[in-house]
C-alpha cells in the first residue's frame, strides 16, 4: 500500500469540488465551507496546487481560485506530484541521506526507472474529470444543518 499524505487527499477533495464549479472562481473560505475542511488546510493545499500550476490564484475583488485548465486536461499524476513531489516508487538510496555501500553492484540499479515510468504513465492517463463526480460534490452552504466536522490534520 502506498500511503499518500492527507494533504494530497484534501487536494483531490478540493479539486473535485472545483470541477463541479469549473470555469468559476471560488474563494478559500467557500471551499472550506463546502468541503468541511479547516480553512488553514484549504489555504495550504491551494497554495501547493497553485505553485504547481494546477489551479490559478486570482487577486482582488472577486478573486479566489479557479482550475488552470479544463478538468479533462489535468492529470492525476500532476495533482499527486503537486502535493507529494515526483511520482516515483523508491525505497533505496535515491534521495536518501546516506549512500549505499553496495549501490555500484545492486541488481536493481537503474531498474526502478522502468517501474516508475509505468506508474507515472498510468496516472497521467487518468484526468481530474475521470475521478470527480459532480453528483458526489458536497455543498453544505445552502443546507440548513451545519457541515459535519472533518478529521483535522495535514
Amino acid at each position: 500500500m502506498f500511503r499518500l499524505s492527507k494533504l494530497t487527499d484534501y487536494g483531490f477533495v478540493l479539486l473535485a469540488h472545483m470541477t463541479g464549479r469549473a470555469g468559476e472562481t471560488v474563494t478559500a473560505p467557500e471551499l472550506a465551507e463546502a468541503t468541511a475542511l479547516p480553512q488553514p488546510t484549504v489555504a495550504k493545499t491551494l497554495k501547493a496546487l497553485a505553485k504547481a500550476g494546477v489551479v490559478v490564484s486570482h487577486r482582488g475583488v472577486g478573486g479566489g481560485y479557479s482550475l488552470d485548465r479544463a478538468p479533462d486536461d489535468i492529470s492525476v499524476a500532476e495533482i499527486i506530484s503537486a502535493m507529494e513531489g515526483p511520482v516515483a516508487l523508491t525505497a533505496c538510496v535515491e534521495g536518501a541521506e546516506h549512500q549505499c555501500d553496495v549501490e555500484s553492484c545492486c541488481p536493481m540499479r537503474g531498474h526502478w526507472d522502468s517501474i516508475n515510468h509505468a506508474v507515472k504513465t498510468a496516472l497521467e492517463g487518468i484526468s481530474l474529470a475521470d475521478v470527480s463526480s459532480k453528483n458526489n460534490v458536497p455543498d453544505f452552504i445552502n443546507m440548513d444543518q451545519p457541515a459535519p466536522s472533518f478529521a483535522q490534520g495535514s
Copy 2:
C-alpha cells in the same frame, strides 16, 4: 513520491539475485553473502515472499529457496504486494482506524478505485525478468575481498 519499505527493496535485490540463478535452489546464508544483506533480514524477506507464493521453500538436505515460477511470470505488482500488502494509493478512510464524518458525501468516494486499478495494471505489466539484469548481480562469494557492508535496518 511513494516510499516503499526497505524490506521491499531488499526483496527486489534478493529476487534479482535469484533470477540470475533461476532454476537453482539457494540458501538464505548464500543469499545473505551474495547480496551483503544481514542474514536475519534475508530470512524475514524470504519468509514474506514464500508466504505470497513468489518463492518456494525447500526443506532438508540441499534445501533452500527457489523462484516459484520463471522470472518472466512473476510481476512487480506481486512482489510489491507480497512485501507491502495490496497495491493501492490511499490517504483517507480506507483502512483507517477512525471513520471520516464526511465520507458519505466525499467527491472522491469510489474514485480511488480507478486510480488504484491503473497503478496495479501498470505494475502487473512489468516482470521480475524486466527489472533484473544478470550483469548487475553481485557475487562476492568467490571474490578475494570481503563483501562491503550494507546499511542495516528493515
